[in-house]
């Protein structure tokens, strides 16, 4: 499937939704791909089932605090450099690139890389959403090593990280990314086609495009966009969703620390929603509580959307006074196994609450 400009607009919206607040402003990523299209380059999205077992896929991404990207807009060559550097290290050319996460800008970085290098992009990712740490990948959960990985900056400086522990990879590469100014570009989890089919969350980019299109169509047809979106989910791996709160942002705390965007959003209920919702953020929305009671918890999606337009709002764009609706969505089963929860379940973020599926939490 060759993506066009309309697909990119829809993808930006859907990726912001699946990014559950994180992954960076999708607008910047979209602009980067638009430039490729305007140069006549092709963005070719392919289904993971079309991969041959011995294809060789090198995922690419941005790493760092999304808040930094607004000030340090990438050219698109940074992640290309990371992929080329990793090819050199491995002595093997990539046949495809792929996202490591579907959230925000990281759904589009591989599109830029694929367009510039003439590589198809696999319609899948390793997070099924966005997560703040590089070890939080279904790739790693199911045995694909993250290293060797490459971290590059806009000046062509790079570091090749080698370790057998994906948490150490995250720790060391984050140190490099911080010293590169808080945002850097990476290639990691190089793997064969068989491993993609075994370990990736499939068809998340095309799902993001469908979500964006659905919200656009609903708006054009004066339908309720939240209803439209909830109607789409049962047909996907993200089969369950519901609105868990709506209100006005009463308080927004935010800081960039240790290379992450940390914060808390507090939302005063409006209409039938009473009480105060608190959402804790580490790049992404991790847990939503109302008056201390859990209403949704990582890895399930917690999406803050504009109550009027249903536009998903990334954490760096949350502002005092916004009217927002919060939707929670179940993640695919590959992300809910004990092995997966050991890598990106609540305890991995220092949360004391156990994981309870959104389907099983009281509304």
């Amino acid at each position: 499937m060759k993506l066009d400009s309309q697909n990119l607009a829809d993808l930006a919206v859907g990726a912001a939704f699946l990014g559950t607040g994180g992954g960076g402003d999708p607008y910047i990523g979209r602009q980067m791909v638009e430039i490729c299209l305007s140069e006549g380059l092709e963005v070719d999205l392919v289904d993971p089932d079309s991969l041959r077992d011995d294809d060789f896929v090198i995922p690419t991404a941005m790493m760092g605090a999304p808040t930094v990207l607004v000030e340090k807009v990438p050219s698109g060559e940074e992640a290309v450099h990371s992929l080329k550097r990793l090819e050199l290290r491995l002595g093997r050319r990539a046949t495809h690139t792929m996202p490591i996460e579907v959230g925000g800008i990281n759904s589009t970085i591989p599109l830029v890389v694929g367009a510039r290098l003439g590589l198809p992009i696999v319609d899948a990712d390793g997070m099924g959403r966005a997560f703040p740490h590089l070890e939080m990948e279904t790739f790693g959960v199911y045995g694909v090593p993250g290293c060797p990985m490459v971290v590059s900056n806009e000046w062509g400086d790079s570091a090749v990280i080698e370790t057998t522990d994906n948490r150490v990879m995250e720790w060391l590469s984050r140190g490099v990314a911080i010293r590169m100014g808080g945002a850097a570009y990476i290639a990691e989890y190089a793997m064969c086609g068989a491993d993609v089919k075994r370990t990736a969350v499939p068809r998340t980019l095309s799902l993001a495009i469908r979500i964006g299109r659905m919200l656009r169509d609903a708006k054009a047809n004066h339908q309720n966009p939240f209803d439209a979106l909830l109607g789409l989910l049962p047909d996907t791996l993200y089969h369950y969703g519901r609105i868990i709160f709506a209100g006005k942002i009463a308080d927004m705390r935010r800081e960039t620390r240790n290379g992450f965007s940390l914060g808390t959003a507090r939302i005063d209920g409006l209409g039938r929603w009473t009480g105060l919702m608190e959402i804790e953020i580490q790049n992404e929305n991790l847990i939503a509580r109302v008056n201390g009671e859990v209403r949704a918890i990582v890895p399930d999606l917690i999406c803050i959307m504009d109550s009027e337009t249903a536009e998903p709002i990334t954490t760096e764009n949350l502002r005092y006074g916004q009217r927002v609706t919060v939707m929670a969505v179940s993640v695919p089963e590959i992300m809910r196994t004990p092995e997966a929860l050991a890598v990106f379940g609540p305890s991995c973020f220092g949360l004391k609450e156990p994981y309870v599926k959104i389907e099983e939490l009281p509304a």
Copy 2:
């Protein structure tokens, strides 16, 4: 020249002297080489003039805060791993290793690497003393690139840093070393034999051995060790030295910050030495002032020695109440050019005072 146990003992003393307070406790480095000798391995020191122009030299070292080493003693395999990793990156085997600095533990790390790999060690280094930053190398001053460089830890994790700017190399690799626990092992400034002859400070390891032997002989013969040492210098590239102060350590401030050992030593004058000497430290002794007047300044050596035994004292071993004698020594001319002072002169350490050769400063 095959080094024996006595050479190592002398080297540890001389390297602590040339290290001008920094480079780590030489005792730990000496023990690492002693283990090699006890296993029957050879430590073969060769003169830089014996190198063929197309020999291939990979320097090895420890990087990090010397204060950390006391708690995290290296096995000796860490730097071997860094060298092997750099060989892989470059697709070329080293014919020799070499120190990047002659101070403290970094005069001995290459001896361990050479012994374990059966490589001769070049009797030269890139600092002619110890410095806190990796760009502060005569190698780099005279055009040898520091990258690609490898940083490894005791677990076999590594990062290959690539940049054309040696200051960026320092900045990024320091970030990795800090996240590796404050001490890591490196291979960098890989170069051919011709470049060693052109850019290195020659014969600094054998000089350190001579200094150690001289101090030992003086003690055995009940001679004044300071006089003996000052008598040796005119015959070397470090041709001038004098005692600039003696007294009792009145106050010692020290902290480990950003991967460095920072501090100030204050010394109350005794005997004919009046007033208060303050020595500023960033891993090494940088500047000595008496009542605010400069008595010696980087890159010239400022060595704090035990007043009784003339044993050089590294910064982490300075203690309140010690009786110490401070000696300043001129560095080789290759380290005093405008190009060299632009990389490791006083302004590179944030000092406002200009460089004045110790020969030209008032006593």
